[in-house]
Symmetry: D3
C-alpha cells in the first residue's frame, strides 16, 4: 500500500476504540463519558422546565450545548478561560456546532417548553474532541429525554433521529478516518462530518490546512465520514440498548 | 420551471450585482468597499512590520482578520460588542473563517516577518456578509501587498493564488446561489464555499437548518458554489486590473 | 498676512468642504454620511417604541448616542474596543457629549415614550470627528423624527431647534476654524462649540494643550465657533429641504 | 436683590468653606483631604521612578490622575465599578479632566523620567467633586514634588504654575459660584472652570442642562469662575506656606 | 522576658490604640471611621427596603458587606480593581468574611424584608484591616438598625448580639495580639478570630505562614484572641453608649 | 447513643470511602482522581521550567493551584465562570487555600526555578470538595516531583512533608468527621482542617453557620480533624507506595 502506516496501526478507514459509558455522573439527568481512543469527553445533560426568554409562550423547547476543555487535557497546560475572563473563539465555535448538531434531531413541539443543556467537558484531548463530544452528547441527550418521559414532561418522543460525528482528513495524500492529535496536526485537509442515524448530513465542515483540496479529495473524505458515522450510530444504539 | 421566483428576479444560479470599490479609505494600505446586492462590507488591510510573539525569529509573516458589524447594519439595532464587553460566538467564528481563508493564498516566507490585518466591517447586511467579506478582503490584501512590494518589504509576490467565497443554499427544495437575507432565513440548508482562483476548495461549511440533507443536495450546492466562486474570481481580477 | 497658510489653503475662518448624504443606509429610520473634509462619519438613527427602565411610565422619551471608530479610520490601526473588552475613556466622553448635545433640541413629552439611539461610527478620521458626528447626527435624528411623524408615533414635532458643532483652536498663535488632524495635533488651545440653530450655546469645551489661554483668545475662538456653527446650520437646513 | 437666597445663606459669588488638610495619609508622598463644604475628596500623590512605555527614553516625566467615588459618598448607594467590572463614562471623563488640568502646570523635562499618579477618591459628595479634586490634587502634587526635590529626583522645580478649579452655574436665572448638589441639580447651565495661579484658563467646560445659554450668560459665568479660582489659588498658597 | 520588644512598645497581649468615630459620613444610615493604630477603615451602612431576588417573599432580610482598599492605602500604590476590570481573590475573600461575621448577630425575621450593605473601605492600611473592618462595621450596622427602628422599619431589635474581630499571630516564637503590618509580614502563624459580644466564636481562621503550628500554639493564639475580642466588645459598647 | 444516625451509616468519626487513583491523565506530569464518597475531584499537576515574574532570579520555585467545578458537578446546573466572564469569590477563596496548603510542604530552594500548577476540577460534588482537592493534589504534586527528579530538574526532594485535609462540623449538636453535602447544609458549625503528615496544622478555618460555637466545640472538632487527617495521610502514603 502507498500510505504510511498509522501510529496506532489502524487502517485508513478504521475508527479508534470507542467507549460510551452511560450514567457517569450521579446528579445529571443524562451523562456519558465518551472515549475515542485517548480523547475523553464528559457529557452531562441538564433538564430545565423553562426556556430562554425569546422562546417563552411558544409551546416549544430548546436544546443547547457548552464545550470546554480542562487546562491539562492537552500536552501542555492552557490557561482557564474563566481566569482570562473571556471565552476563546475556538470554544465558542465548537459549542455552537454541538448545539446545532443536536438540535437537528429534536422536535421542539414534542419537547414542550423545556430546555436541555448539554455540557461537554474534555477531560483528555487526543484529536477529534468535537466529534467525540457530539457523539457522546447525543447519548446523554437520549438519557435525559428518557428521564423526562418517565416523568411525563413531554408528549411522546422529541428525538426524531440520532446524531453522530467523526473527523476525516488527508494526511500525506491519504484520506484517513478519525484523526488522532498527531495526524490532525499533520493533515493537509481536515473535515468534520455530522450525520443523522438515517444517513443524512447535518453539518459538513472541510478546511484546507496548508493546501487547498479538489472535488475528488472532498468526495473521498465524505465517503470515509459517511462510513464512520454509520459505525458510530451502531455503537450509540448498542450503548442505549 | 418548478422553483419559486426569487424576490429580486434572479435565476437560481445568478449572483447579485457585485461591486468592488478599491481605495475607499485614505489611510489603509489596502481598502475595498465590497457590495453583494444590499450587503456592504468595508475591508481595510493594515500592514505592520512585525509579527505576533509566537512567530518572531521565524522569518515568516502572518495574516489575520477581524469581522464586525455596525449596530444598525441590520433591520433592527444590535448592541455593540464593545458595550457588552465581549465578542459574540458568531463574530469570533466569522473572523476566524476569513483569516483562515486568506491565509490559504499566502506564502509566509515571501511575506517576511510582516503582518497584515484585514478589518471587515459590515456597514449594511443583507445576507452573505462573510462571503462578501472574504471576497473583498482578498482584494484589499492584494492592494496591501502591492504597497509592500513598492516599498521592497517582501522578496517577490507572497500571494500564490486568489480567494473568493459565496453562499449557497436550498430554499423550498431549490438550490440557490448567493442568498439574500430573506432567502437565508428560509433556507433548509445553508453552505459557504471558499475557493482559490485556480478552482480548489479552501473551506466548505454546510449546515442543515431545520432538516438534514443528502449527498445529492450537497453535490448540487457544491456545483453552484464552484460556478459562483469562478465568477467572483473574474470580478476580482477585473477590479485589480 | 501674519498667520501661516493652512495646508489645504483655507482661510482661518473657513470650514472644510462639508457633505451631508441622507439615506445612506437601507434599514435605519434615519441615516447620514457626513463628511468634514477627510473626516467621514456614518450616523444611523434607530427608533424604538420603548424607553429605558428609569423612564418608564413618565410619558416622556429619550435620545442617546454611541460613538465609535473603525480600527483603520486613523493613520495607524487601533485595536477594537470589543476585542480589548472595554470602552476607552475618549469613546465614553464623546458618546456622552453627542447625546447631551442632541437632547438639547428635543421635547421629550412630544416624543412620547419612544427612544432614538444615534450610532455615530467614524469610517475615516481627519480631525473634528466629534463635531462632524454631532452635525450629522442631528440630520439623522430629524429624518428619524419624520419617519415617526409619518407613523403618528408622536404628537407634533419633538424637535424644538437644530444642533450643529464645530472645532476651533489656536495654532501658531492664529485662531482657526474646523481643524484638520495635523492642525489639531499642533494646536495650543482646542475648543469644541456646540450651538443650536437659533444661535445659543449647548456646550463649550475649551482645553489648553501645552499652554494656558487668556480671555482674549477664548473670545476670539468663540467668535469663530459661532460663525462656523451658523454656516453648518445653513448646510443642515439645505440638506433637509 | 432679585435672586433666591442660597440654601446655606451664601451670596452668589461666595465659595463654600474650603479646607485643605495636608499629610492626611502616612504612606503617600503627597496627600490632601480637601473639603468644599460637604464635598470631601482624599487626594493621594504617588511617585514612581519610571514612566509609561511610550514615554521611555524621552528624558521626560508624566503626571496622571484617577478619580473614583466610594459607594456611599452619595445620598443613595452606588454599585462599585470594580464589582460591575467596568469604569463608567463619567469616571473616565473626570479622571481625564483632572490629569489634563494638572499637566498644564508641569515641566516634564525638569520632572525627569518619573511619574506621579494622583488618586482622587470622593469620600463624601455634595456637588463640585471634580473641581474640589483638581484643587486638592494640585496641593498633593506640590507636596510630592517637594518630597522628590528633597531626594534630588528632579533638577529644579517641575511646577511652572499652580492649578485650581471651581464650578459655576445658572440657577433660576442667577449665576452662582461653587454649586452644592441641590443647586447643581437645579442648574440650567453648568460650567467648570480650571485656571492657573497666574490667571489663565486651562479648561472651560460649559454645558446647557435643559436650556441653551447665550454669550452674555457665558461671560457672567466666566467672571464668577475667574474670581473663584483666584480665591482658591490664595487658599492653596496659604495651605502650602 | 524572652520575646523581642514590639516596634511600638506594646506588650504581646495589648491592642493598638483603637478609635471608633461614629457618624463620619453625612448620607449613610450608619457610618464609622474605625482606627486600629495606623489602620483606618471607613465603614458605611446603607439600608434598602428590598432584598435580593432569591430572598423575596420570605419575610426575611439580608446583610452583606463589601471590602476594598484605596490605591494608596498601602506603602506602594496598587492598581484599582475597577481599572483592572476584576476583583481580586483577597478582596472577595475578605468581603465574604465580613458579611458572614455580621450575619452571625442578625435575626433576619425581625429585620423584615430589608437589606443592609456595609461598605468597608480601607483608607490607610497597617495590618489587621479585615478585623478592624468587622469591628467598625458592627458599630455602623448598629447605627443603621437604630435609624430603621426610629422609622419603624423592623419589629424589635434584629441584633441578637455584637461582633468584633482581632488578628493574632506568632512572631519570632512569641504569640502576639493585633499585629501591625511589619509584624504580620514576619509572622510564622497568622490567625483571625471573630467573636460575639457574649464570648462565642463566629470564625477562626489560622494559617501557617512558612511553618506549620502545633495544638499548643493554636491554643495560645485563641487565648489572646478571646481576650482581644472582649476588649474590643467593651470599646464598641462605649462608642455606642 | 444520643446522635442521629448518619445517612450512610457511618459513625461520627468515620471517613467516607476514599479512593486515590494515580495517573488518571496521559499528559500531566502528575494526576490523581480522588474520591471522598460521592465527591470526585480530578487533580492535574503541570510542571513548568519557569517561575512568575516576581520570582525570577531568586533561584526559588513556586507552587500554585486552581480550583473549579464542572457545571453539572452539583445537583442543579451552575453557569460556567468562563461564560459569566469572572471567577466567583468562593472559587478564588478555595484556589488560594489549596495553593497555600500545598506550599506548606515545599522547599522552594530545592525545587529550583520551576513552577508546579495543580488544577483541581470537581467532576462531581457531594460535600468536602476543597478538602478532597487538597488531599488529592498533594499526591499529584508528589508524582510531578518524582517526574522532575527523574529528569534531574531539582537537587534533592523539595517535599519536606505531606499535606492532607478534612472537613468537620457540628450537626444536630454532634461533631462529625468528613461531612457529605446534606450534612454540610445542616451543619451549625463547619470547619476545614489542613495538616501535615507529621501532625501539625497548616490551616484551620472554622465558621459558625447559624449559631456561634464555644471553645469546647472547637476542641472537639479539632480532635476529629486531627484523627481524620492522620488517616488520610496513611491513605496517601499507601497510594504513593
Amino acid at each position: 500500500m502507498s500510505f504510511m502506516a498509522r501510529a496506532d496501526g489502524r487502517s485508513p478507514d478504521q475508527l479508534r476504540p470507542v467507549t460510551i459509558t452511560r450514567g457517569w455522573l450521579a446528579h445529571a439527568e443524562g451523562s456519558v463519558l465518551v472515549e475515542f481512543g485517548g480523547t475523553r469527553v464528559l457529557c452531562a445533560a441538564s433538564v430545565q422546565d423553562s426556556v430562554p426568554r425569546w422562546r417563552r409562550g411558544s409551546g416549544q423547547g430548546w436544546v443547547t450545548a457548552e464545550y470546554a476543555m480542562l487546562p491539562r487535557a492537552t500536552n501542555t497546560r492552557n490557561d482557564r478561560e474563566s481566569v482570562r475572563g473571556r471565552i476563546g473563539g475556538r470554544t465558542h465555535e465548537i459549542s455552537r456546532l454541538i448545539g446545532r448538531s443536536l438540535r437537528a434531531c429534536v422536535d421542539y413541539k414534542v419537547l414542550g417548553e423545556n430546555s436541555i443543556v448539554i455540557d461537554c467537558d474534555v477531560l483528555q484531548a487526543d484529536g477529534g474532541t468535537r466529534t467525540a463530544a457530539i457523539t457522546g452528547a447525543y447519548v446523554a441527550l437520549a438519557d435525559a429525554v428518557r428521564w423526562m418521559r418517565e416523568r411525563k414532561m413531554c408528549n411522546g418522543d422529541p428525538l426524531v433521529d440520532s446524531v453522530a460525528a467523526v473527523s476525516v482528513g488527508v494526511v500525506g495524500s491519504t484520506p484517513l478516518l478519525d484523526l488522532c492529535y498527531t495526524e490532525d496536526v499533520a493533515a493537509e485537509t481536515d473535515m468534520n462530518v455530522v450525520m443523522t442515524g438515517s444517513g443524512e448530513f447535518v453539518e459538513v465542515q472541510g478546511t484546507a490546512e496548508g493546501k487547498p483540496f479538489n472535488r475528488g479529495a472532498l468526495d473521498e473524505l465524505l465517503d470515509l465520514g459517511v462510513a464512520g458515522c454509520a459505525e458510530l450510530t451502531r455503537l450509540q444504539r448498542e450503548a442505549l440498548a
